[in-house]
Amino acid sequence: MPFSLPMLFSAAWSVFAKDLLSELRTRYALNAMLLFAASTAVAVSLGAQFLGTRRDDETFLLQSALLWIALLFAALNGLSRSFVQEEETRTALALRLATPPIAVYLGKLLFNLVLLLALDVVTSLLFMIFVRVQVENTGLFISLLAAGSLCLTTATTILAAIIAKASFKSALFAVVAFPLLIPPLIIVIQGTALALAGAPWVDGLLHLRTLLSYAVATFVTSLLLFGFVWEA
């Protein structure tokens, strides 16, 4: 019985809803990510208090870099969980027999994206409170956060599926993800610094376009690869 497109999306939504319900009950990823984000914000606020008082280009770049480092490491802590847990608890077999690989990929991608966007909100607020980061162009800042998170999610979701079958998953995930995430991180750090400085939209558009292109490229590649990874 071939899956029609609406059935595929419906199945993907069910995978997302199941992952969300499981996460809310177990909090495997959520607790680790929030703890990491909070401890980073507090450590930065205590160790580098000058960041909240100075308003120059270098400071904006430092604030932006620290925010994205906190997001990156929190993401690396949590985004692999949804696939790793399926393999570790051996539920992947039941899922593999019940629904097409694309539905699993889309559901997990959506779950990781929602998790990361929630982390974005919490981490940004923590940085605003503890590090006293001020955002001058809020619209551009939010857009860059969303685009950067999309890049992190598309790249890490397929990597999580690959490393879920390996030993030493946590270490391997960080090692494999790091080189793939360097290009979008450089761009999003520079773009976020512009948003903090209050640069107009036109200055941030190139960064946004590059990030979205990266996200589309990794998403399409993942769609093509995922079937082989999932059924390997």
Binding site: F3, S14, R90, A94, L97, A98
Partner: protein
């Protein structure tokens, strides 16, 4: 009627690394037939079932399901297959009913709670649908695996160690399921239990040689 459903295996072989566990298996099963695969530990019973379910690829040979005029490979035939095995795990943090609701949804099936409760009752889990799977005993978990496998009324049922961890009423439930399946589909059972050999119209005995 016998042309509606057919399972063909041709010259199947399977390896684990350099070790060959199955070779030269060729057989045909038709609708309303049951095959029991027996053999000592490590003879490849579970492997053969995994090949039939598409969870593993054969080293050589072909497997095809013919159903209502269409030919499917195992990976294309997931809507035709119900698989029960000790290593089939369901979501422990979800309740029994939530598990079934989820698997019905990802299969694109419309199942309301009444239908799910009927299925749970059929496998002997009436009244336990709201308990989390983490709270189930091993026997109850195995019964839930049957509910998972029967959710989409599959014409092909693959049972690996079908009565392991089940009590007397559980064994009776499995007997009913196999007898029901015999009226419209194909059943393949992998077992070491001599009491289960009687389920089969045919018995395939594997050895390690």
């Amino acid at each position: 009627m016998n042309n509606i459903l057919r399972l063909d295996l041709h010259n199947i072989a399977a390896n684990y690394g350099a070790r060959r566990v199955l070779q030269q298996i060729t057989l045909t099963l038709r609708q309303c037939e049951t095959l029991v695969i027996s053999g000592v530990n490590g003879s490849g019973k579970s492997t053969l079932l995994r090949l039939l379910s598409g969870l593993q690829q054969p080293a050589s040979g072909t497997i095809h399901y013919h159903y209502q005029g269409t030919c499917y490979t195992p990976r294309q035939a997931m809507h035709l297959l119900g698989w029960v095995a000790p290593d089939l795990a369901l979501y422990r943090e979800l309740t029994g009913r939530e598990n079934l609701r989820f698997f019905a949804a990802v299969r694109g099936l419309q199942r309301n709670d009444t239908q799910l409760d009927e299925l749970l009752a059929r496998v002997g889990l009436a009244g336990r649908g709201d308990d989390r799977v983490a709270c189930y005993s091993s026997g109850m978990t195995h019964r839930l695996r049957y509910a998972y496998a029967l959710l989409h009324d599959p014409p092909v049922l693959l049972l690996d160690e079908p009565t392991v961890t089940l009590d007397e009423s559980g064994v009776a439930m499995v007997t009913r399921v196999v007898e029901m399946q015999r009226t419209f589909g194909i059943t393949v059972i992998a077992t070491n239990d001599v009491r289960e050999l009687c389920f089969g119209d045919y018995v395939l005995t594997l050895d390690t040689a």
